[in-house]
Symmetry: C2
Subunit: 195 residues, 2 copies
């Protein structure tokens, strides 16, 4: 049974998948028609092969620039900084923001060894330094790491004279940005204040 | 982004994976080092290629007979009937049972179109008819489908004159067998009563 155990172990490594769910997933996959399993592995293979980070904002894309960065109707003078690609999707659903994004792919987390060099902060500085940016909205999560990240980025960005704002704390503290409903997120964007 | 969406859709089809988790899994997999993803798809491919059902009990195995069916120290006169392979693992952890198993791979569920022909019931009848079986313990889940399945199997098995028992209702009703703690399962096995 070593192959089953290896599969269970590989599934258990996925985020949010516990020992019980990894067993259930393995058994489901072993039982599933070959076509369904091939569809999954093929989707994974193709996504891995084709998906890259947008050269501008760092969101996932299959081209050099993501759909939003390539859209001339978006306001390039306004940059909203988020931790994760899911956050872009969540904010887009509010329809309250017409600027562009910058995806950090994480937040400062000394405990997990996530320092500023891992955060795409340098790319953000370069974008602002290149000029034309009126405002940077810091929309990192309203938890300890997110607040620390916002503070850190605000200090880095201050000398570049852009207006720096933080999404309003209409978002409940300790939460996870991409789990919030659209109205709360919309309020948080509208009520943003100077950092 | 069609490849990302296709991956999210394929992941969402897995049992217990909601829209939110499928997004998180996809992003985790896109970000993960290629080696980690290859380890997962390789484990899946090898498990799919090598794993089959035990010719005797129907549990997953990589040989003709599973580890338990191939063990001469197990009591072949005692068969414990369960719905899922996870249930075998759960019951084995109690160390309260020294017989063999029979895995139905499901329970009667008219709503989901799961009739008796899908349940490996015929294979169970054949095992009992072949002789040498003193007792069949019906250890299907203590929910509606499991009780209906036990009743159905008891009626089928009665003419074959084997002793038919049902695990005691020390297990809480409405529960899922493989989520129970070992002591409750152990009590349920010890207190089994004539069907």
């Amino acid at each position: 049974m070593k192959n089953v155990e290896r599969l269970v172990a590989a599934l258990k490594r996925l985020p949010g998948v516990g020992p019980k769910q990894s067993e259930r997933l393995a058994i489901h996959l072993l039982r599933a028609p070959r076509g369904e399993v091939e569809n999954l592995t093929e989707a994974l293979r193709e996504a891995k092969a084709s998906v890259r980070l947008c050269s501008r904002c760092g969101d996932f894309t299959e081209r050099e620039f993501c759909r939003l960065c390539a859209d001339p109707a978006r306001d390039a003078g306004l940059i909203c900084v988020v931790e994760e690609p899911q956050d872009v999707a969540a904010l887009e659903r509010t329809r309250a923001f017409r600027g562009l994004y910058h995806v950090l792919h994480g937040a400062l987390s000394p405990l997990e060894g996530l320092g500023p060099e891992r955060l795409r902060a340098r790319e953000l500085i370069e974008r602002v330094r290149a000029g034309g940016v009126r405002e940077v909205v810091l929309a990192t999560d309203p938890d300890t790491e997110g607040e620390a990240t916002a503070l850190y980025l605000a200090q880095l960005l201050k000398p570049l004279a852009a207006k720096i704002t933080r999404i309003a704390h209409g978002v409940p503290l300790g939460g996870d940005l991409d789990y919030l409903d659209e109205r709360t997120l919309s309020h948080a964007l509208t009520g943003r204040r100077e950092f």
